[in-house]
């Protein structure tokens, strides 16, 4: 197990290097000098610009620049956003937290919905229940996240049942941490439900296919033949084996969620990475774009890693091989 995790960690290293290199190239080939805009800003003194130039090594060859940039990134120093005039790190830290909350909330919720439904539908394959939920899954897969988000926003603009935009509406200083937490959750609900809706469909389909596949294997038939109770066959023998492949797609799911979250955040006004990167692109804030790109790639790599480790943890065939 330890060896496997270590091996998997080592595989991540070239990916990280490649990812940082691609991000660097993208930003290098962008038009306009980062400092051109800063030089025109009277609020920034020439010495600050000189300091930044040397700290990023912009007066040296490209490869040295890349290495210095990587060194800075390893210390989580992504440079300074020139739209906000504060370090990119500070900006991203706050936004990543919100996006992660959103992602974890919606992934958790959609698993909680998709897995039980898929087990029921797979157990009674071909029943009206199965057909109904397969149809719903089709609809959920075919609805783009931004359209669902817009429909939710329309619904809320008509009814006003949930707050929209931002992370809090209680600005009372004396409010207890529990009130603030409740308020945060209420704001999380709209983008969270949108993402959950978009994500549940394909999870359901994957899970159902896995379940049906395992359910039709000879060893399940053997379990039935031995007279095991239905609960034991379904949950202990089928579900556990059907769940294993789901961990490998966790990484893909995080990618999907990040993509969907970005658009949902922008439409629902949730201050996360997605709305940050959009603002950055619109104001041509290159260091912010690059920081977001690196962080999003990093999150995806971590997601894949967690998925693989979980799989090894739950699946003895992989753990022991």
């Amino acid at each position: 197990m330890k060896k496997l995790v270590l091996k998997r960690l080592l595989q991540v290293v070239p990916l990280l290097i490649g990812m940082s290199f691609v991000s660097f190239i993208i930003i290098q080939s962008s038009p306009g000098d980062y400092f051109a805009q800063m030089k025109m800003n009277p609020e920034i003194s020439p010495s600050t610009i000189e300091h930044m130039k040397t700290s990023f090594g912009l007066d040296r060859p490209v490869i040295v620049q890349y290495l210095m940039w990587v060194k800075n990134i390893c210390r989580f120093d992504f440079g300074v956003s020139f739209a906000y005039h504060i370090p990119v790190r500070t900006l991203i830290k706050f936004r990543v937290k919100n996006t992660l909350c959103l992602a974890v909330f919606s992934i958790f919720l959609s698993w909680m919905i998709a897995v039980p439904l898929a087990v029921l539908a797979g157990y009674r394959e071909g029943s009206w229940f199965d057909k109904l939920f397969s149809l719903l899954a089709y609809i959920s897969i075919s609805l783009p996240s931004f359209f669902v988000a817009l429909l939710f926003v329309y619904f809320i603009s008509k009814t006003g049942v949930l707050p929209l935009g931002g992370t809090r509406s209680v600005f009372d200083i004396s409010a207890g941490s529990f009130t603030i937490f409740k308020d945060y959750l209420r704001h999380l609900l709209v983008p969270g439900l949108v993402l959950c809706f978009v994500n549940t469909g394909w999870l359901f389909r994957l899970m159902k296919n896995n379940f049906v596949e395992v359910f039709n294997t000879p060893y399940i038939l053997a379990a039935w033949a031995r007279g095991l109770p239905a609960g034991s066959v379904i949950f202990k023998h089928t579900l556990r084996n059907a769940l294993n492949p789901m961990f490998t797609i966790l990484g893909m799911e995080i990618g999907n969620i990040l993509n969907g979250a970005a658009l949902t955040e922008i439409i629902c006004g949730w201050p996360g990475m997605g709305s940050l990167v959009l603002e950055a692109v619109l104001s041509h804030d290159l260091y912010l774009v690059m920081g977001s790109l690196v962080i999003s790639g990093f999150l995806l790599i971590i997601g894949n890693l967690i998925g693989d480790i979980l799989l090894a943890f739950f699946d003895p065939r992989i753990r022991l091989s």
Binding site: P144, L150, Y154, A262, L263, L278, S292
Partner: protein, 352 residues
């Protein structure tokens, strides 16, 4: 082809209808400018956010007319944008009415529109937007842009994926290593962030035609990686077949074997893969346009019709018909998904 359709129909009736629906829809959006009642750019300045026009058969005196007609409307309240119908004159719906001159199918100039009503009344089947432009016409025109971008984009990725996947799988060794590492690195990024970052490499104020090709470029650059990986895997297994060895011993060059004997065997899979991946391209284009980074006004696309509703609760509450663009995307996507699912089974040689 006929055989294919029969198999598709036998597999599932719904997917057969989806196939024809998509064909019809592509035709409709290609001939969009023959079918629309207004040019996408024509503004009715006194009718912003006009709700879908009511088409009447019975006038306000209760008399029935065989030819449908509309009433002219005037704005009642400029704040809440409510409209009132003027019952004094009926405007019957006519075929081949005259309007502003426009170009049809990129070449012909004409004043005729397929259907419409006499001015100053307007026939807005799906309402109007903030400048009083007809949403129905814009949706049809927008379909032409959105669907063609996705088609061109997917074809470019397909060619790129074929070439790189074929090379990597057939020649193996160092070529394979380099190409596959490239693919992996490209797939490390969540596609939305990569898309926006690539867009940030270019100036924001490009001309419409430049943006069009830029979007195609970005989408296909992101999309080819997945295809390449799958094709590589298929080529890896196909090249072990006996007929490849036979071709080799007959003295065929590697190039010929790859192009004429191996890649065609991956077609049945790639056609399925293309069908499944078109939705991603449509979403990508719409998302970019929705955020104002894609197709620019006055040209319509399904994304930028939606864009005025983003972050504007009043607009979305007052003019929900703008969301019909999203419904169009949804209908196209669900048909592609149904067709893709069916193709997966129908084109799989195991099921023949």
């Amino acid at each position: 082809m006929k055989n294919f359709l029969r198999r598709l129909r036998k597999h599932s009736r719904i997917s057969y209808y989806s196939f024809w629906f998509l064909i019809v829809f592509y035709f409709v959006s290609f001939f969009a400018d023959l079918l629309v009642p207004y040019h996408f750019d024509e503004q009715f300045r006194n009718k912003p956010y006009h709700p879908p026009t009511k088409i009447h058969f019975v006038d306000n005196e209760g008399k029935f007319h065989i030819r449908p007609f509309v009433y002219n409307t005037s704005m009642d309240d400029p704040v809440f944008r409510t409209y009132r119908e003027d019952y004094s004159i009926r405007y019957p719906v006519k075929f081949f009415v005259d309007g502003h001159e426009r170009k049809v199918l990129f070449v012909f100039k004409t004043k005729k529109y397929l259907f419409g009503v006499d001015r100053p009344a307007g026939i807005f089947l799906f309402g109007t937007d903030t400048y009083g432009r007809d949403i129905f016409s814009r949706l049809l025109y927008g379909g032409r842009i959105s669907l063609s971008i996705s088609m061109i984009g997917v074809l470019i990725s397909f060619v790129l994926g074929m070439i790189t996947g074929g090379f990597a799988g057939y020649f193996g060794g160092i070529t394979d290593q380099i190409l596959m590492r490239m693919v992996e690195i490209l797939m490390v990024f969540p596609s939305f962030y990569l898309m926006l970052s690539l867009r940030a490499m270019f100036p924001l104020n490009l001309s419409s035609i430049q943006v069009y090709f830029l979007i195609v470029l970005i989408l296909s650059l992101i999309g080819w990686a997945g295809l390449a990986r799958i094709i590589r895997g298929m080529v890896l297994s196909i090249k072990e077949e006996d007929y490849v060895l036979a071709a080799r011993s007959l003295g065929l060059s590697h190039w010929k074997i790859l192009v004429f004997h191996i890649l065609p065997n991956t077609f049945s899979y790639t056609i399925t893969a293309i069908t499944i991946s078109v939705p991603g391209y449509i979403i990508g284009e719409s998302a970019l346009s929705l955020l104002g980074l894609g197709i620019q006004e006055p040209y319509p696309s399904w994304g930028n019709i939606l864009s005025s509703t983003v972050g504007n609760l009043k607009v979305i509450g007052d003019a929900p018909w703008l969301l019909l663009a999203g419904a169009f995307i949804f209908i196209i996507l669900i048909n592609f998904n149904i067709l893709g699912d069916a193709l997966r089974n129908v084109l799989d040689p195991k099921n023949w």
